[in-house]
Amino acid sequence: MRRIVIVLTACVVLGCFLMLQAPWVFGHTPLCSCWDNEDGTVTCEGGFSDGSSGTGIAMRVVDKKSGKVLVEGKMDEDSEFTFDKPDMPYKVQYDAGPGHLVEIDGDDITE
C-alpha cells in the first residue's frame, strides 16, 4: 500500500513538472513565423498562442522532396532559430510535440 502511494505521488509530481515545462500540454496553439534575412540566412521565431516563449523547441529544416533533415537545432533564448538557406526546396518544422508540428514551406518565406 505504501509503495502504491509513493508511486502515485511520484507520478503526480512528475506530471506537474512536465506541465510546467511544456506549455503545449495545456492546449495552446504552437506558432511559428520565418523571414528571409537576404544574406543567405533565414530566421524563424516561435511561440504559443498564450504568449509563452518557444525557447528550447526543436527545429528542423528538411528537404521538401525526400524529407531528409538538412539542419537541426532548437529555438534560442529569444525564441529564434537562424539557419543557412538551403539551395534546394525546403520546409521548416517547428516541433512542439506530438500533434503540435508547424510546417512552413520555404517558398512562403519571404523578406
Binding site: 513565423s33 521565431e45 504568449g51
Partner: protein, 277 residues
Amino acid sequence: MRKTGLILLSLLVVVLVFSVPAFAHFQLIYTEESALEKGEEVDLKLVFTHPFEAGHTMDMGMPLEFGVVHKEKKKDLRSKLTPIMFESLTNKGKAYEASYKLRGMGDYIFYVIPEPYYEGSEDIYIQQITKVILNVAGAPTDWDAEIELPVEIVPLDKPYGLWAGNVFRGIVKVNGKPVPYCEIEVEYLNHDIVGNKFSKTEKVEAPQDAFVTLTIKANKDGEFTFGIPCAGWWGFAALGAGGDLTYEGKELSQDAVIWVQAKEMKKFFGQIQNERE
C-alpha cells in the same frame, strides 16, 4: 416691420447653421488589415476626419509623436511620416502616411499624439491621442499593455481578434488612472479607404442621427463594453479623458482613441466549405 423681418431671418439662418448635426471628429490610424499571417510592410494613414459620413477632413499638423511599441520596446517613427492630402466626400485635408515593415511575431501598437486642432465652431482645441494594434502570426505580446500615453484606452479584448457580434471592452485611463463615467463616442468606418480618399459607397445607412455617432459611457472604474454589430473598423473616442486642460488660452479636449477591427464569421465558414469542395 421690414427690419424685424430681417432680424428674424438672420436669426433663423444662424439657428439653421448651428443646428447642423456635429458628428464626431475621429483621429484615424488606418491600415487595411490588423491580423496578419506573417510579417510584411504595412501602409498606415493618419487622418483626422468623420469616419461614418466620410465627411469633412480636418488639416493635421505634424504629429508631436508617432511610433510603435513591440515587445515592450518603443520606437519613434516620426521620420517615416510623409504629408498627403486626404479626400473626403466634401473636401480635402492635410494628413500623413507612413510605411513600416513588421518583422517577427507578436503585437505592434502604433500610436500618435497629434498637434492640438483648433475647432472654430466650438472655440476649443481637440487632441485625439490614438492607437491601433496589429498582430503578426497570432502570438500575443503587447495588446493589453499600457504604453504610457497621457490618455489611452487600454483594451480588455484583443482589438484584432474580434468576430462581429463579440463585445469590445476597454478601460479609459489618464496618466495610468481610470477615468470614471467618461463619455465615449463610437463610430463605424462606413466607407472604405481607397488610396488617399474615401470610397463614395457607404456600407450602412443610419436610420437617424443618433446612429451615426453612438454614445456610451464608462462605468465608475473607467471600463466600458460595446457589442460590435458588424464587421469592419470601429473607433472609440473617450472625450475629455485628459480632464480640465487648456492650450493657447483655450479649452483643450484631450481624447483617447482606439480602433478595433471585427471580422464576419460567416465569410470564413464559406472558405472552409470551398476548400473541402
